[in-house]
Symmetry: C3
Subunit: 143 residues, 3 copies
């Protein structure tokens, strides 16, 4: 069998303020570009006020409700000791802690083993748009 | 030293509705079947209304309280924009976002490096029983 | 290119009771000691009442607010079915479920791909100090 390889890449994702940006397509394109066949993809967000989740990619209302749920868990109007970076900053750190900073996704036959309704999303927790850096790693066999 | 390998597998887990199903034994058996020795096991749930956690495997009351905590974080009686799939569906997505979709577990001397009280569980968030697909990946050395 | 390797290690982290202990430096030192160059570092906590997070390493008030947020999500004064190990034990399991038990961090050019403000922390959820075991795994190329 061919030797195992490791590869890495950096995605830049432009967010539009609080909300979800799907990156499933970008991940699949990168795996294609390196001919990834079998192994493990790791997705890592290099920030503390944006995070990752895998969620339903069908009804957009799901993301509306997910956003409301995060807002309820870390409301802006609560008193926080850390206030210097604006009222949306500390809630962003809390939301990041409660969701994911890294995701490991098995790759088989050149594709991520995602279920039918699973999409990979960057969650922007800050109010204003940001450019977010996502580090990717693949370890496994290529075609 | 022997060459590194990667292997993958798919588990099907029958759940009994809302609650925890332990899969620690199934994971250990798969690692045994491929003679996994040192490396990394990745466990990935291919769904958006079931998720993963590693929790105490001793007192069953721990899972009772964990379930109640998830219920309090995402109650069914709240108003959700996404309602088409029943009152337990949107809470299931929220609970999935707040727990884990993937777990990376180091493997050493043929065993997962779990602490004494750690068990790996699938959490079913839907009210009715489901068959859930769990993708497994191992990368490392075999015996 | 050189062959890929896998390496493992165990960190012991002394915590001071409820709060955050940064381990970014220990992780970097271990990667240095094995001459890790490109690949994937996995950090895994071998306990069910302590967990992991990657958070801002600048203003210490961020950790004050994160701790308060966890306390609000799983307060000690609520009634729990699991009470045998003290009032701080069941909240610890809930907080562990809502944060991370494992983290996958890409390694590039000998360094973790952490953003400027990202530090890796063990979160102790119990009231009294503990010694916590953290399992580390590296898979990739060494220098």
């Amino acid at each position: 069998m061919a030797e195992m390889v490791q590869a890495s890449h950096e995605l830049t994702v432009a967010t539009a303020g609080k909300g979800f940006t799907e990156i499933t397509g970008e991940l699949a394109r990168w795996l294609d570009s390196i001919a990834a066949e079998h192994g493990l993809l790791t997705v890592f967000v290099c920030h503390t006020s944006a995070s990752l989740t895998i969620q339903e990619n069908a009804d957009p209302n799901v993301r509306v409700d997910l956003l409301a749920a995060l807002e309820a868990l870390a409301p802006e109007h609560r008193h926080y000791a850390h206030q210097e970076e604006g009222p949306d900053d500390m809630p962003s750190h809390i939301k990041t802690m409660l969701t994911s900073v890294s995701l490991g996704i098995p790759v088989k036959d050149g594709r991520m083993t995602l279920g039918t309704w699973q999409g990979v999303y960057v969650i922007e927790h800050r109010t204003s748009p940001h450019r977010r850096t996502i580090a990717l790693s693949f370890i496994g066999h290529t075609a």
